[in-house]
Amino acid sequence: DAGVTQSPTHLIKTRGQQVTLRCSPISGHKSVSWYQQVLGQGPQFIFQYYEKEERGRGNFPDRFSARQFPNYSSELNVNALLLGDSALYLCASSQRDGNQPQHFGDGTRLSIL
């Protein structure tokens, strides 16, 4: 079975632009979470979606938004990009909500110029 897939793998944007990152969970997984990993740090929780509803939100500004589609795939949107948004964005999926093991994709590397 395919793992969590994220696209694109790399992306270069300039300050002020908007970006959309995509995630396809493992087949049968209904929960998707997004994390931001700045170079040299551990990942930081951004959002969790389960059955198309937002279940959790981390300490990120409103420029960050996400949604989950009926097929359980998800998009993360970031508006008005700042240099500090440069990071590896990781998507994780799990079968259900609650304490389920989360499986991570390889991430999207976003660079802001």
């Binding site: 979470s33 551990g42 990942p43 929780f45 969790q48 279940r55 959790g56 304490n99 389920q100 390889d106």
Partner: protein
Amino acid sequence: AQSVTQLDSHVSVSEGTPVLLRCNYSSSYSPSLFWYVQHPNKGLQLLLKYTSAATLVKGINGFEAEFKKSETSFHLTKPSAHMSDAAEYFCVVSERGFQKLVFGTGTRLLVSP
């Protein structure tokens, strides 16, 4: 609030010698604890998890960790290091029943021949 502290930013071992990566946690509730590994330019792979069953948890690739409530520790060990173990290791805590993962700052394991 939950947090984890990884006591070493770097650990260097020789191939064939034991590995010890240290982690202390702080949680107001009964925590779930995890260890994840990240190889360069890759996503995160779950090594093992503790969710209130046996305090000694066995994971993949010969790793294991022991939950010690009295010491609030969850150290990761392996009897004999392999070159392929060189990677970044993250200790992670979550509140029981919730998906949000809180990561430590990571420990880079270096394995020399």
